[in-house]
Amino acid sequence: MRLSTHVAVLCAALLLGQQAVAAELPQRWVSAGGGLSEWVSALGGEAKLVGVDTTSQHPASLKALPSIGYQRSLSAEGILSLRPDILIGTEEMGPPPVLSQVRAARVQVELFSAQPDLSTLEKSVTRLGQLLGAEPQAAQLLHGYQQQLDAQKARVADAQTRQKSPGVLLLLGHAGGKPLVAGKDTAADWMLRQAGAVNLATHSGYKPFSAESLASLDPEVLVFADRALTGEAAKAALFKENPILAASRAAKAGRVLELDPTLLVGGLGPRVPAALKTLSDGFYPATSGQ
């Protein structure tokens, strides 16, 4: 009898304790960053999300949530109408007066960096894990992520001993028309380099190119990221709108790769390692599948 009372008290205490911790953690989340929403979902927190911005496209189920608009033009009252406990976003989130209005309504506002580097990512995912009460999952995800990137690095280094790094252009387009070429200081450039390619474009940011300069760079591999179409339809549209590309070395050799444009915004997301593997397999066909 006494023992069972002890056990009961202990159980109750444990339960209460856990509830107390759970009550302190934010339960209703609004995310204003595509990459962050993805990590929240990957950490098992999707059910806590009550609203996302327009850059949150993955996983696809997020699109069913109320949209708070574009991350740089948020509306304070719109966000408050979702009765959130916490608003997360990158340093791009704004405008600043709206953020202070949200803070004034006693909603926790957490800013994360969208820098594409591992130490930043580690900090962000760890913090998200704490806020979600999912620290072990966060550590596990990060460990796996690190391993995948290490494996990627090794794979590229190995492939480069057997084959020269290909010169690549990444085209960001909308149904093929007037594509923008990804230059330095872009997430696209980072991904190309991680996948072992040489970005032939040396300008900064995403800029339109003339057909002639595209032809003169003559890339070995073309990567396209289309916001409107996917797969063969996107490829066909790209070549139809830009006949000069159809005559390029890459097109003739059939070395045209596709990249999901949502990977290029909002920092490093959970899908990046897989995308890098697909890219490097395309860049180094001889060593693919290892």
């Binding site: 609203g51 327009t54 574009y70 509306s75 009252e77 408050l80 995403y206």
Partner: protein, 345 residues
């Protein structure tokens, strides 16, 4: 000329419309507050000693979000419409809008400099950084307008036709400079620039509101005093001169008021098209061209239209919101067409 509405009826109607728009703007939003709470919170904000039980949320939303936003809408809508009347009077052309003297394009250029070039202004004091955009837009608008005015002057006379053409030329020039900044911008700044060009009353705060309120109150008090002179100007410049109007001074005042008012409005809320061009027209179609009626009526109509448009902007896609420039044109243009066609039939 017969008018559709008697001036007194028009003023009563517009005042009621404006009051209704103010109330709706305070009472409606994505967060649904019980009407009773809104009333009590409003009374508390007015200084009534009511018990604050359970009103924190209502008071915050009313006092910190909806009230500054409503004041911003009133000031921006009113001052844009008034400036429209001033420009149409100055150029004696119903197609004139405040953009004609370069204030809008100048402000857009200033904004582009601030948004795209913001990072080059390293070492700005922290308290100033949030206001950089507004200050640059204001100065840009004022600067280009001053240049247009200067180009229109010869031998102490302001030639309105030369000023008009100079305005067109400088607008084109500023447009190409904005284009250059657009080209230099990266993805994120590009979107900021695009949204700025569509205008928004979102994120209104008192710190940004005061300069605009003071300027628009000054413009709203000053311009109606010049109604008689504007009426005389309708007859032609020399005729107005013969009637004892100092035409040069009038022109200077009109340009100055427009530059100041529109510059401040654009700096606070971004580009909001349509209001300055069409609100004076609406009022003219209803009540005729007498500036004694036109000026105050446009002030009321512009303020009401902008508040109602903002209501649509924040409710249509809640919890997200539309840029208000889309809404003003979307509501106003069909209504304007309707009045136009009805007047012709």
């Amino acid at each position: 000329m017969t008018t559709l509405v008697k001036p007194r009826a028009l003023f009563v109607g517009l005042t009621l419309l404006c009051l209704l728009a103010i109330w709706l703007s305070l009472a409606l939003g994505p967060v649904s507050l019980p009407l009773f709470d809104t009333l009590r919170a409003a009374l508390r904000l007015l200084g009534m000693p009511l018990a604050p039980d359970g009103l924190e949320q209502a008071e915050l939303i009313l006092g910190q979000i909806r009230l500054p936003r409503t004041l911003l809408g009133l000031a921006v809508g009113g001052v844009l419409a008034l400036s429209g009347v001033a420009m149409q009077g100055l150029f004696r052309n119903p197609l004139a809008d405040p953009g004609l003297v370069g204030v809008s394009s100048g402000a857009a250029l200033g904004a582009a400099v601030a948004i795209v070039g913001g990072s080059f202004f390293g070492g700005l004091p922290e308290w100033f950084a949030p206001y950089l955009l507004s200050v640059c837009a204001f100065l840009g608008g004022l600067g280009v307008t001053a240049l247009v005015y200067r180009l229109g002057r010869r031998n102490g006379q302001t030639n309105v036709a030369t000023m008009l053409l100079a305005g067109i030329a400088l607008t084109a020039l500023a447009g190409s400079a904005v284009g250059l900044f657009t080209y230099l911008a990266d993805d994120a700044t590009l979107r900021t620039l695009t949204f700025w060009n569509l205008g928004s009353l979102n994120g209104a705060s008192y710190a940004r509101l005061w300069p605009l309120l003071i300027i628009s109150a000054a413009v709203a008090l000053w311009l109606p005093r010049r109604a008689k002179a504007l009426n005389a100007l309708l007859l032609g410049e020399s005729e107005a001169g013969h009637l004892g109007i100092d035409v040069e001074r009038l022109k200077r005042e009109l340009v100055f008021c427009t530059a100041l008012g529109v510059g401040a409005a654009v700096a606070a809320a971004g580009m909001i098209g349509f209001v300055g061009l069409v609100v004076p027209h609406l009022v003219r179609l209803l009540a005729g061209p007498d500036h004694k009626v036109l000026l105050p009526a446009s002030l009321l109509a512009g303020a009401s239209l902008l508040l109602l448009a903002d209501l649509v902007a924040r409710l249509a896609l809640a919890p997200a919101e539309l840029p208000i420039g889309i809404v003003t044109a979307f509501i106003g243009a069909p209504f304007f067409l309707y009045l136009l066609l009805r007047g012709r039939a």
